[in-house]
């Protein structure tokens, strides 16, 4: 049984959006974050609270993605206006760590043809993994655009030594309905992974990058 109601969340989303779009509008697109304050959770001995969640709508639209493709996928990438690199392009990097690091810094994430995944560690070594950017596979049967959107819509969450977790759930230019839905989805999903569910939650707060916090639980 969820302890937050969509009407209560909606009330706060309204206030949050009002602040960021009217009261004090910034000249960059503010992200909306859900901050979960945990209680009765011991980061040293409790089971890990870590994973990712795919949201219906991309929270941060400005993510840059590059596709490592075989001939088929390089073509597909071009047709959706995405940047792509072929196996030959990757071979040209010659496993040079500096160049690969530069490549890793240039993009937020990578997608690679499923058939190439086997070769990626041989072509590029561990440098991409170290940067946390090993590619997500896409098969010829998958919709490439859809897969890219999936990657952009997936938010990672992890609780480490502190008892507060923050995840990006949207941005201030999203419609109220969608924002409310994404907040509810995220909150309910995260809580489902806690062993005592709502009893492990001390507070739930939504906040835009530069705006004030609004407590929803």
């Amino acid at each position: 049984m969820s302890k937050i109601t969509s009407s209560h969340v909606r009330e706060n989303v309204k206030k949050l959006l009002e602040f960021s779009t009217e009261t004090k509008k910034r000249n960059f697109l503010e992200t909306v974050e859900l901050q979960v304050g945990l209680k009765n959770y011991d980061p040293q001995r409790d089971k890990r609270f870590s994973g990712s969640l795919k949201l219906p709508q991309v929270p941060r639209p400005n993510m840059t993605i590059c596709i490592f493709g075989d001939a088929f996928d390089v073509d597909r990438a071009k047709s959706i206006g995405a940047e792509a690199m072929s196996v030959d392009d990757l071979k040209k990097l010659n496993k040079n760590k500096k160049l690969i690091k530069k490549l890793a810094k240039k993009y937020n994430a990578f997608v690679a043809s499923e058939v190439l995944i086997k070769q990626i560690p041989r072509l590029l070594g561990p440098t991409l993994s170290k940067a946390g950017k090993f590619p997500t596979p896409v098969s010829h049967n998958d919709d490439l655009y859809g897969k890219v959107q999936d990657v952009k819509s997936t938010i990672k969450f992890q609780l480490k030594k502190v008892l507060c977790l923050a995840v990006a759930v949207g941005n201030v230019e999203m419609e109220e309905d969608i924002l409310v839905n994404q907040i509810m989805m995220s909150a309910n999903f995260l809580v489902s992974l806690l062993k005592k569910n709502w009893q492990n939650v001390g507070s739930l707060v939504i906040k835009s990058t530069m705006g004030p916090s609004f407590r929803i639980y």
């Binding site: 040293q44 001995r45 089971k47 890990r48 609270f49 870590s50 994973g51 990712s52 075989d70 496993k95 499923e114 058939v115 190439l116 995944i117 086997k118 070769q119 990626i120 560690p121 041989r122 070594g125 561990p126 440098t127 993994s129 170290k130 940067a131 946390g132 090993f134 590619p135 997500t136 596979p137 098969s139 010829h140 992890q158 489902s192 992974l193 062993k195 005592k196 569910n197």
Partner: protein
């Protein structure tokens, strides 16, 4: 079908959690590691509340992993590094760490090689391998292949050149230990989800359980890297939606033929038969553990070999011994041959290998091999 509770052991201190359980064949018992840093062993052959071995201050804080090395040696790790304990003296015989003194989260042992994985410190999450016969220096280090806490490590049970690690960064890496440096050694990367545990469920299959209670099976790649083959992972997704009364998974035990999962809100623990050969789960024959560990999370489950007994340990600080109503098939694989870490020594080792094949048992004692000539005349 239900198991029957046969015995239980309580923690001597309050608010102590049982985190790992391992079988001690030589002692006919089990050893448990706890959140209060203690290692305690109890006899199964002769049930008693008195421990047969007690090391109350094995570590300064919660023990993250526990493994058996040989008859009398166990390895455990925590914020104070990796420690090898001799069970006869209860003394710490070796302490291993890395230059950063990072917290070690995971361990595995096979054929004289001990591997340990650390948590992320700055930008480094490291995996080190030591030879226990000469633990002064590491024999292998993989420091660039993960960018977050290394939560699990597994040596391949039969193909001894492979070592696997899983991390909260979502990657499962397979390393080829015969390669001289890390760049060459990274054989395969599976980009999955924050990893709770991963196993070689079959010679060329890898099962991965995530922290989000999702389960997937992947193929272990061959070395024909340029061959464009579409791999076929089998993804069960969120198993809480697939298996009855599942709120969290304790672990998958491919060699013992089951997966154990629980539901705290219902004080339930279930054992679901699993066949690693066809990757089938038999939801019609789930075994229940009445009472489980109450509302507390079960952290480990251990099959006692050659018996129908099973042991569970939980966050209630209790260890419970149960009698299963049915026997489970064993999918244990044979012992792997020791891996050749140094390419130069290969030819010398080849001859030694042929002799080692005669040994059907694991070397529990740290005995040195007598010279080759005398071994030739020993009976099979």
């Amino acid at each position: 079908m239900s198991s029957k509770l046969r015995y239980e052991w309580n923690s001597s201190t309050s608010d102590n959690w049982i985190l790992s359980l391992r079988y001690l064949k030589h002692y006919g018992g089990i050893i448990a590691s706890s959140s209060n840093g203690s290692l305690t062993a109890y006899s199964i052959d002769q049930l008693s509340s008195t421990p047969i071995i007690s090391i109350p201050q094995a570590h300064e804080s919660s023990i993250n992993a526990l493994i058996t090395i040989d008859e009398h040696t166990v390895g455990s790790c925590s914020t104070d590094g990796v420690k090898l304990y001799d069970l006869r003296s209860c003394k710490n015989v070796v302490t291993l760490s890395n230059p950063n003194n990072s917290t070690f989260l995971s361990l595995d042992y096979s054929n004289n090689l001990l591997a340990g994985g650390t948590e992320l410190v700055g930008v480094d999450a490291e995996l080190h391998v030591w030879d226990v016969r000469n633990s002064n220096q590491v024999v292998k280090s993989f420091v660039d292949s993960h960018h977050d806490d290394i939560t699990t490590i597994q040596f391949h049970p039969t193909l001894s050149q492979y070592l696997m690690s899983g991390s909260t960064d979502g990657y499962v890496n397979v390393y080829d230990l015969t390669q001289p440096d890390e760049d060459e050694a990274l054989h395969q990367v599976i980009n999955y989800e924050s990893v709770h545990s991963c196993y070689f469920t079959r010679e060329r299959r890898i099962g991965i359980l995530s922290h989000m209670e999702t389960l997937s099976f992947y193929e272990l790649n061959d070395t024909n890297y340029e061959e464009n083959v579409e791999p076929e992972p089998t993804d069960l997704g969120d198993v809480r939606l697939v298996w009855p009364d599942c709120e969290y998974v304790v672990d998958i035990r491919p060699y013992n033929g089951y997966v154990a999962y629980g539901a705290n809100s219902k004080s339930k623990l279930s054992l679901l038969p699993f066949n690693p050969v066809n990757e089938a789960f038999d939801t019609n024959n789930v075994i229940d553990f009445p009472g489980a560990h109450g509302e507390e999370v079960v952290r480990d489950i251990l099959t006692i070999p050659n018996s129908n007994s099973i042991v569970t340990g939980g966050e209630d600080g209790i260890i419970r011994l149960w009698a299963l109503p049915v026997e489970f098939p064993s999918y244990e694989t044979g012992q792997a041959q020791p891996v050749q870490l140094e390419v130069a020594k290969e030819e010398k080792e080849e001859k030694k290998d042929k002799k080692e094949k005669k040994h059907k048992h694991k070397h529990k004692d740290k005995h040195k091999h007598k010279d080759k000539k005398s071994k030739r005349f020993k009976p099979y």
